[in-house]
């Protein structure tokens, strides 16, 4: 896992490789994601989650929401075609993969997590 940080007041970004996730059970993956998000980090998964894992992520997220402490997550996935697979995030992670990139962050810190075909935009406060 790569950790990019912009200083004490900054935003920590956890880039989690597909390799690191592949050996984990569903609940371990969800725990890893939500632990990061609870700390205020932006978690980027190189390989994304399966539909069943996404369904459980929503369920567990709901069970952890608590007033004034945690209001849930923002999540966006980014399906990459072969042509796009040489982008900057891949170079950071140093891997090439055809599966979907997923960005997850704490809802209260991310103003908009916008997505179009070529871009995920996150405004972090």
């Amino acid at each position: 896992m790569a950790e990019l940080s912009t200083g004490a007041e900054g935003v920590q970004i956890d880039l989690i490789s597909g390799e690191r996730m592949a050996s984990k059970a569903t609940m371990e993956k969800i725990r890893m994601i939500l632990d990061g998000v609870h700390e205020g980090n932006i978690v980027i998964l190189e390989d994304g989650l399966s539909p069943d894992e996404e369904s459980r992520l929503i369920e567990v997220t709901m069970s952890e929401i608590s007033p004034d402490e945690f209001s849930g997550i923002e999540i966006e996935t980014y399906p990459r075609s072969g042509a796009e697979a040489s982008g900057i995030l891949n170079r950071i992670i140093g891997r090439d993969s055809s599966s979907k990139l997923t960005v997850i962050g704490p809802a209260n810190r991310i103003e908009t997590l916008h997505k179009d075909e070529t871009l995920i935009k996150a405004l972090v406060s």
Binding site: M62, E74, A107
Partner: protein
Amino acid sequence: MGLLTSIRTSITDVTDRLFSDGEPKRIGIYGPPNAGKTTLSNRIARDWTGDAIGPESHIPHETRRARRKENVEIKRNGNTVTIDIVDTPGVTTKVDYQEFLEFDIEEEDAIRRSREATEGVAEAMHWLREDIDGVIYVLDSAEDPFTQVNTMLIGIIESRDIPVLIFANKIDLEDSSVQRISNAFPQHETVPLSALEGKNMDEVYDKIAEYFG
């Protein structure tokens, strides 16, 4: 036809009949908060059973418990299709009680509402994994359909091989765009309607009978 094959065939016939007569399919009404799921569920229930399912509201997360209306018999072209309708809480990945304060709800009630909403969303996800045979996915056609929640939920439904119809609701609104919804989910059939005004309900019932009958 060998003896074994014919026995097998007749067993299949019996189970087919048991299914269609004894066990109505459970059709989950899913979608984001405020899309009009309860308004639609109430209209279907009222049209075919005479009574409603639950309260509708412009405040999101009005439905915080899945509610079921059993044995709704929809008559179409001489056939009767019997389904159970499950009206579910709107699915989201975040709930902030502060949002309810804008609707003149007291803080204490807002906190309770948000807690119930989170339980409701979890419950809706659980129903989807365990107890749903078909899905009507309701969207507000005046809103952007390209949201992560919609993409994820449709993906979850597809991965479980559950038949799904997309309902483009609120076509009575000026900003409504059915096209935007069919572009977002070209792999599924989109049915336009206004659950509030009862527009295009004939096609709605035709499609329900065709997909879930």
